[in-house]
């Protein structure tokens, strides 16, 4: 077998012959050929045609991919077969001769060599493409040259004896020439998320050093999908062979950091990765007033934020938050320093009280009704996004400015309300963009992975801040190094400009209804059928360098699957306050004991303790317990209460039982 393959490589075995008729001619972009019945050719197979007549002194070689197949016999109508077997299907098995049968294929041209003059495909012999042919056919030879190699393996093309790695061009995957990757496929086949995990591994392994550093921010939007990227998963020998072929180590991600908001209790992280054994790299994600106010429009719908309300929010953002505010005319000598939602509530209360007291209808052109409305909406944010947004203004954020190369930052928003998810998307992506524009993020390129794009950037429905942000990212991100890897079940339901700007598109197994939509009209019926029946681990790839979609196999990601992770690392039950505080502080100082924490907790109220914990986690001091203690409000020594005994008005006679 090995010898056969070697021989095949030296001199390709002829598998078929090009045919053309007046009714079905060959063109510069399409040709037809027939093969033996047992040939390994199928839909998606890449073939090479060697022409017979030199053009300008050069024998033309044409590379094509099979997009359609036909099979028929010399039977004129099915009825003849019925007659021939007396209406008995089982009798057909006894026929001594099988009818003459043809396998006729249509192939779309991938590349013609030489490329000029572009002529219809000539008659010639057809053979399977070998590794080198695949490289030429897909124009990968242009970016796999030694010294200027920018190839990122995406999988392996397999047909007959050919097992060729397929590379994407990093310049067209992560910018600046083109960028973004979009993947579609039905749910439940472990294709979309697995493919993205594998491609991220491949990007981290092969991203060219001359192009700088790269990190990834992944939003975990459902279940435990991305919660165990740093844990090794089960892969088999076939997967290992694919990893080896693609030059990627079958290892989980080395550097992963998890971020999750707290639950409403303010001290339990709202993530499925809550097992204590994995808590080391799980960090809280909490924002205060300042962080949220900039993205207030994410949380407030258009009915809320009319022009008047918008003006007041701008006023608060510019003139009230984070600065000393005074208004002698209305508030007299009282001064406000608004740094949290709690401070803002006090400010609103004072302003409204003063306005009511003076019987004014407006203050600084803002009608009192508008002030009440904005107060209501803003105050509500900390309730709606409890756990993410804190009244106290505590901030625990991604390390904008100190992102690290080849690191994955996972933000677990799976259990959050939609408002909180939107807020996180908006703020994180905006901050990434701002830092990349200023070139101070810490890395040169960031891959943002968003699943369920149907939901966040739908093709119809009202325009949302998140959709606008994703559109902006899709259209301008490549210049900044901000790259969107997105996934969804139904590509047709995603905003056209988002998927349209994805230079690379991947397709897993597709739903037949989805394939019937106009977006797939360019695919042949056979390719659609293949897409509708694609196995796990197979993808159809469209990339700017490939003139036709290519089918590849990719290995299972070498990380633990979400379901396995949840079984192996069960979610911790909701912690008591002291256990939660202990767990947080132990990530900074493992020597801290539960007794030490409990002693402090007995003396302070819950909010005070949480605030101190947040401050400690933010500061990460050397002496953790000492710093934590210092953040608690000082205790005032208890004063003994002396009961004053009131003197009777008149004393009752000792023998007067009624006291009169």
């Amino acid at each position: 077998m090995t010898n056969d393959l070697q021989n095949d490589r030296q001199q390709p075995r002829v598998l078929g012959r090009v045919v053309a008729t007046e009714r079905r001619p060959n063109t510069p972009h399409e040709f037809h050929f027939w093969t033996a019945l047992d040939s390994p050719v199928g839909i998606g197979t890449i073939v090479r045609v060697d022409g017979g007549t030199p053009v300008n002194g050069v024998i033309p070689h044409i590379y094509g991919i099979v997009v359609e197949g036909f099979s028929y016999t010399d039977l004129q109508t099915p009825l003849h077969d019925v007659l021939g077997h007396d209406g008995s299907p089982s009798a057909a098995a006894h026929a001594p001769t099988q009818r003459t049968e043809i396998r006729l294929y249509t192939a779309a041209v991938l590349r013609q060599m030489p490329e000029e003059p572009l002529q219809p495909v000539p008659m010639g012999e057809v053979s399977l493409a070998n590794d080198d042919d695949v490289s030429v056919a897909l124009r990968m030879d242009g970016y796999l040259k030694e010294g200027s190699r920018t190839g990122i393996p995406i999988g392996v093309y397999r047909a007959g004896g050919t097992d060729a790695p397929i590379y994407l061009d990093a310049d067209f995957l992560l910018g600046p020439e083109a960028a973004h990757l979009n993947i579609s496929g039905v749910s439940g086949l472990a294709t979309k998320t697995s493919a993205v995990e594998w491609i991220l591994s491949s990007v981290f392994a092969h991203f060219p050093a001359q192009k700088g550093s790269v990190a990834s921010v992944c939003f975990n939007v459902k279940g435990p999908d991305l919660c165990f990227l740093d844990q090794a998963g089960d892969i088999d020998d076939a997967d290992r062979a694919l990893y080896e072929k693609c030059g990627v180590e079958p290892e989980p991600f080395e550097n992963v950091r998890y971020y999750a908001p707290f639950k409403a209790d303010g001290f339990t992280l709202n993530t499925l990765r809550s097992n204590e054994a994995l808590s080391e790299n799980v960090l809280p994600l909490t924002w205060g007033l300042r962080e949220v106010l900039q993205y207030a429009e994410v949380l407030l719908n258009k009915d809320d934020v009319d022009a008047k309300a918008d003006a007041l929010i701008d006023f608060i953002r510019e003139r009230v938050v984070d600065r000393e505010f005074s208004d002698p005319d209305l508030l007299g000598a009282k001064r406000h320093l608004v740094r949290s939602f709690a401070d803002l509530e006090v400010w609103f209360r004072d302003v409204l009280s003063a306005v009511e007291r003076t019987n004014k209808e407006s203050w600084r052109t803002h009608h009192v009704a508008t002030i009440r409305k904005v107060r209501n909406r803003l105050s509500n944010i900390s309730t709606r996004c409890a756990g993410l947004v804190t009244d106290a203004g505590t901030v625990s954020d991604l390390p904008f400015g100190s992102f690290e190369d080849r690191t994955v930052y996972v933000i677990d928003v799976a259990s959050l309300e939609e408002d909180a998810q939107d807020l996180i998307f908006a703020r994180v992506v905006t901050k990434l963009r701002e830092h990349l524009e200023k070139r101070d993020l810490g890395v040169n390129h960031v891959v943002v992975f968003v699943d369920e794009l149907n939901k966040y950037a739908p093709g119809d429905g009202q325009d949302t801040y998140v959709r606008k942000m994703l559109l902006d990212l899709a259209e301008r991100g490549r210049y900044l190094g901000l790259v969107l890897f997105s996934a969804q079940q139904f590509r047709s339901q995603v905003h056209r400009r988002v998927v349209g700007n994805s230079g690379t598109a991947l397709y897993g197994r597709m739903d037949a209804d989805e394939l019937a939509t106009p977006g797939y009209a360019v695919l042949s019926p056979a390719v659609k059928t293949k897409l509708a029946t694609l196995e796990k681990g197979q993808l159809m790839v469209r990339h700017p360098h490939f003139t036709q979609p290519i089918f590849v196999r990719f290995p299972r990601p070498a990380v633990m699957r979400g379901r396995d992770g949840v079984e192996r690392f069960p979610q911790a039950s909701d912690l008591s306050l002291d256990a939660a505080i202990l767990r947080s502080l132990r990530t900074l100082d493992p020597s801290i004991t539960i007794n030490a924490v409990q002693e402090l907790l007995m003396l302070h109220d819950e909010q005070d303790v949480i605030r101190a914990r947040n401050a400690t986690m933010r500061e990460q001091p050397k002496d953790v317990l000492k710093f934590f203690r210092s953040q608690l409000r000082p205790l005032i020594a208890a004063q003994p209460v002396i009961r004053q005994v009131a003197a009777p008005i008149k004393s009752a006679p000792g023998d007067d039982p009624y006291g009169f």
């Binding site: 010399d74 004129q76 003849h80 007659l83 021939g84 026929a95 001594p96 001769t97 009818r99 003459t100």
Partner: protein, 335 residues
Amino acid sequence: MQVVEELVAAQDTSFRAVQRQLALHLFGTATSAGSDAALDAFISASEPPRLSEATLIESGPMRSRKVPGEPEVRFAAFLDGTQSSRIARYSGGIALIHGTVAAVVRARRDRRMVTWESPIIRHGLYAPRKHLDRATNEALDRTGIHVVDTSIDDAGPGLAVHPFALRDAAINRVRRAREAVEQKLAEQWCENEHDPLFIDGGLSGSERVAVSASSVGVVKSHRTLYAEGTALQTVLALEAGERSSVFRIAPAKRVPVASWYLRLRDAHARDPMWGLVRVEIAHPVRADEPRIGERADEVSRWILAEASPLSIPDARWDKMVYGVRDCEEFLEAIT
């Protein structure tokens, strides 16, 4: 697969090429262009139908016999030939006919048909040179095309000069050329193989083939019927899966063969000849004559097994087995 193209090697001998050559070399002579229409149908339809008495080999009078047992797949290969005759040009009102003959043996392997050895294709220009003027004959020589002189068939001084007679003579020569290539392949098979060969047509043209135990000839046309009177009625009344008694055919100057009629399909409410074939095998030596009936039953079972698949859309599908149709399709593709 190597195709044996004979007569004019290294020269394009296709119909169009020959037409061009003739137009070039006969330019200025009294000639006119030919026609694309195939002529072969004329001659086959014009053979007079006749009855011929045959001597029975099998005991008893001519009668129908049910072929016992189940159909049995034994044929290893099928042989057939094709011919094509078209008028390349007229010279002085005489047709110069381009003839192509071809033959192939298609062997059955794993229920699929493949070509055995090499098919044979022969092209030629069939012309009655005695009836052509000198200039035309000289022009024909200059073309380099292989010319078969059809005038050699002429007998005596009363030479038929009716153009149709000359045309028929040419077509007959083409037919003989076709039979020759068929016989050549059949002889090759009989020399080299031992498995049964299904030959479309009779066996008696070649002695080597006619005496071989591995050749079976199956004749579809019944312009000559080897039965008369009640015997004929018996033959025409054969039911599907029945055969007639075996008889001897001994044409003049040819090798005698054993033959019988066999009904392949139910002809109820159809033409009496429908599904009727005549089978030829090697004539048994005298000692084997008593067992000729068993041999006929055996070969009949082989032929009945070939009734499926149908050779539709060929109009002769009632009599033609699929292997023979495959030979014809193959030859049509390469000629």
